[in-house]
Structures are given as C-alpha cells and as structure tokens.
C-alpha cells in the first residue's frame, strides 16, 4: 500500500520552460486516477517526478511519507512502475519473454517468482501466444502492450501508464481497461495519462485535469465530467466523454460512463 503526496511541486526545464507550478496532489493506495490535459500541460512531467526521473525544482514528492529525493531512480523503480508512451524507446531484447524479464530482474525478482511474474503479465496483456517472437515482428499496438507488460512484471505497488490506448484498436483498449481493473482489485494504485476521455471515464474513478502546469480540476469521474464542469474542461481544451454528453442532452444528470447512462435511462423509464 503506497501513499503518494506531491507538495507544492514545481518544475522548470533547463532552458526555462515552466512545466509545473505548485502542484499539490495526494494519491491514495488502490486509487485509479487519470491525468488529462492537452499536450504540454505537464502530465508527463508530473508522473516522471513520481519515480525520480525528474526532480522537483521546488516542492517535494513524498512516498509513504519519505522524501523521494533521498531515493535513487533504481530504488524508486521497485515501488513505482512507469510504462512510457513510446514502446520503441525501451524494447531491445530478442524475444518478447526476455523483454518482459528485463524490468522484473532489475526489480530483484529471481527464479520461480520471476517466471510467474513474466507469465502473469504476458497473460494480462494477451501476449502469451507470442512470447518467443521477436518484439519487432509485432505491430506497434502489440509492442505497446509488451512495454506495459514489462512494467507490470516488476510487481510494483504503483503502476503508471503514459498514453496506454494510443494506437490501440477496440480489443486493445478493452484489454487495457480490464488490466487496470484487475490491478486495482489486486490492491495496486493505477495512474494513467490519457487523451481518450471515453477510456478515462470507463476505467478510472478519479480524474485530474492539468492545464499549463497546474491542476485545473480534480475529483471523481462523475463530478469532473458533469455538465457544470464542461466550461472548465473546454478551457483546458478537453471534451467530456460521449456518454456524458448524451446523458446531459437527455436531462439525466451526470452519466460519464455508458453503464451509468443506460442505468439512468432505465431508471427514468420505470
């Protein structure tokens, strides 16, 4: 159970780009949290602070009350897994299985535990059939699932996915939705950076909207996608998910997910 706390986090890149400005954020264990916002709003910069890849210009990152500044990236990587957006920035092994093993081995897993972790994470993303294939024989979307699997195999308490659904088809998105649900049920914290509002609404419980390095909105999916938040979303150049728009146009209140929409329609009828 890992508790994450950002305190007055600011980050200025060399060259002067102010990517984060005084961000305060608490993330509780087993939470499913989505970070949304247009490109350049600071989402990726924020998550890279959680595992120490970036260090605060000012403010602090606390992990279970301990200042992350005291831990090296290699140590933090055992607590917090981060799957990058572009799988081709990490894949280097000759087989799918070895690629998945890389992170897990770095995390200190050995022997049967290691094997288990590899098999389990390959199954989670649906790549167990191709475990002996060369990663570069797979298409982009499956390479992306592979990159996610390699982070899952590290068995970290916190899993961060940067744009997991980019380039995925409907079954791929569904697989990631199931995976996030499964991780959360297993007691892990899942954080995703995403542009896909439907995916965000269907999969996550809390949404944090970033705008120009600050948090513009933060709350449960039902609140962030409710009609009264739409102007704020629009100011961050975002649109609510389709189900929320349909629900509002039918006067059914906040229905961010398709299930909620159908339930609201059902309730209105009976």
């Amino acid at each position: 159970m890992t508790h994450l706390h950002l305190e007055g986090l600011s980050h200025v890149y060399p060259g002067g780009v102010r990517a984060l400005e005084g961000v305060d954020l608490e993330i509780h264990p087993t939470e499913r949290l989505a970070l949304v916002g247009e490109n350049g709003s600071g989402k990726t910069t924020l998550v890279r602070h959680l595992n120490g890849l970036l260090r605060p210009t000012s403010g602090r990152v606390l992990i279970d009350g301990r200042d992350a500044a005291l831990l090296r990236v290699a140590q933090l990587s055992r607590l917090i897994g981060l799957a990058f957006q572009n799988p081709d920035h990490q894949i280097f092994s000759s087989t799918v299985r070895r690629e998945v093993m890389f992170g897990a081995r770095n995390a200190g897993l050995r022997g049967g535990v290691l094997e288990d972790a590899v098999v389990r994470s390959l199954r989670l993303v649906g790549l167990e059939q191709v475990r002996d294939d060369n990663p570069y024989d797979l298409g982009y979307s499956r390479r992306k699932l592979l990159a996610i699997a390699s982070v899952l195999a590290m068995d970290t308490q916190v899993v961060i996915l940067d744009e997991p659904t980019t380039g995925q088809d409907a079954p791929g998105v569904a697989a990631i939705e199931r995976l996030v649900g499964g991780l959360s049920e297993a007691g892990r914290t899942v954080i995703a950076v995403s542009h896909d509002m439907r995916f965000v609404a269907e999969t996550f419980s809390r949404v944090v909207v970033m705008q120009a390095g600050r948090i513009a909105l933060d709350g449960p999916v039902e609140t962030v996608f409710a009609e009264q938040s739409w102007p704020a979303l629009a100011a961050s150049r975002l649109e609510p998910p389709p189900a929320a728009r349909l629900g509002a146009s039918l006067g059914l209140g906040s229905t961010p997910t398709e299930t909620a929409l159908l339930a609201a329609i059902g309730a209105g009828r009976s």
Partner: protein
C-alpha cells in the same frame, strides 16, 4: 477513379501476404473509410493505394492498381505523387527535417517536382489557405503542436495537388484538440470534393465523413458498403471495431426494451 483490383501484397522478408485479394475503388469526389482491428491490413492497403508499396519498400504486389483504367505498375513513385498522395499518422516523421518555416515545409514536395517558382509559391499559399493555417507560415514546423504539425503535413500533401488522398490514421497520435483540428480540416476537404481514402479507428470521425466504408479482417475485405449500414452492422464488434458511440448506445438502449428513448444527435455540439 483509383482502383485496387484483387490486390495482394507481401512485405519484403515476410512469410505470408499482409493483404489478400482486396478489390476496392475510390471514385472522384468520394470519401471511403477503411476500418479494422490492428494488423488487419489497413496501413498496407494505404501503402499499396499510394504506390509506395512496393516502390519505396520492396515486397511483392499481386493484382493491379489502376488509375483511370491504366495500370500504374512500372511507373516510378515520383510520377505518381501528383496523382495520389499519402499522409501518415506520425506528424514528426513526415517533416522533411530540413526546413525552418512552415511555408518552406509545405513547398518541399512541389519543389521536388521542379515546377516554376511562382507556381510553387502560389500552390503553397493555396494549400495553407485550404487548411486555414496561413497564420503558421512563418513558424518553425518543429515547434508546433501535434495537431498543427499534422495539418502542415497535410498541406504539404495538398501542395502536390494529388487527385486522390490516402490518409493512414491521421489523428491516431494527436490529443483531443489536435484530433478536432484535423477532423475539421478533413470535413472541409470532403466538402470541397476531394477524393479521400482514410484508415481510422475513430468511427465517430468516419461517420460524418465517409460515403462508403470498407472493413478489413486479417488482410481480407470483410465488408464494403454505405457508411451508415456498415457502421450499424452487428458484426463490427466481432471484427475488433468500436462502432460510433451514438449508434452503439442506441442499440443497447433498444436491447434493454427502452425503444421509445431516442438519443438523437445533440444539436450544435
């Protein structure tokens, strides 16, 4: 008319065909959507239709690609660029990498054709204007947002004045603002009567754009028909395709026995 006549294609070094016996035509002033699960052959069809496969990447082509009835086999790619143009999903790899302003970037393609300088300037300006990005002309193309960069790539394509546009998931790597930007530009192009073949996962985008839609499954043509019928077809989900939200929800509502509830298109959103 651009015709794929029982086209099969095998990538260089691959064991099997990536697409098999695809027959598809793109008529003038028509927008045809191409949908299918990942690795079902959408990108391959785009490469074949644009002439890049096999010319630029090798491999083996079966069947024929015809433009106005003439087989294009044997014609070099630089002769085809004024006829068929292709836009890819990653805006960054489409920049020439050697220009410092958007204007120069858009002019890069037609400049390669060696056309007259005044004509080059005119075409470039026209392409920028068509997509409404004259304001970016003096900007550095490498310092734009993803959506803007993709519009620049599209303008670079338009400046070649191809009769047929092939777009391979042009919004896949863009954020919502970028997707909206490119989506609106595509609407405008469709209204101007451009002939477009567009591969895309976002069926909501296709619904408002296409006359016909082709569905691919493991390299074969699984369905081809009017956009409305295809997007309403029950088999889509089984083929790994998410139908447009509106229709899909309406069907689920109907299935719940709530037939009287209609979720008609929201006005003006």
């Amino acid at each position: 008319m651009l015709v794929l006549d029982t086209v099969s294609y095998r990538y260089a070094g691959a064991a099997g065909d990536a697409v098999t016996k695809i027959s598809l035509d793109l008529r003038d002033q028509e927008v045809v959507g191409l949908v299918g699960a990942n690795e079902s052959g959408k990108s391959t069809v785009c490469l074949v239709a644009s002439g890049l496969a096999p010319r630029a990447i090798g491999g083996v082509l079966g069947g024929r690609v015809l433009i106005d009835g003439a087989d294009v086999a044997g014609r070099p790619i630089h002769e085809l660029v004024g006829t068929v143009g292709i836009c890819f999903q990653n805006p960054e790899t489409q920049l020439s990498g050697v220009t410092e302003t958007v204007f120069e970037e858009v002019a890069f393609g037609p400049a390669n054709l060696g056309i007259d300088r005044d004509e080059l300037v005119r075409r470039t300006g026209e392409a920028l204007e068509t997509l409404g990005i004259q304001g970016l002309a003096r900007r550095d193309p490498r310092r734009l947002s993803g959506g803007q960069m993709q519009l620049v790539a599209l303008a670079g394509l338009l400046a070649l004045q191809p009769r047929y546009l092939v777009l391979d998931e042009p919004t896949a790597q863009l954020d919502p603002a970028g997707t909206r930007l490119v989506g609106e530009a595509l609407q405008a192009l469709a209204q101007r009567g451009s002939a477009i073949l567009i591969a895309e996962h976002k069926t909501d985008l296709l619904a408002g754009l296409c006359g016909r839609i082709a569905v691919l499954q493991r390299g074969e043509l699984a369905m081809l028909g009017g956009a409305q019928e295809v997007l309403a077809d029950d088999r889509l989900e089984g083929l790994g395709i998410a139908a447009p939200v509106q229709g899909r929800l309406q069907r689920r509502i109907d299935a719940l026995g709530l037939a009287a509830t209609s979720i008609a298109p929201e006005p003006g959103r």
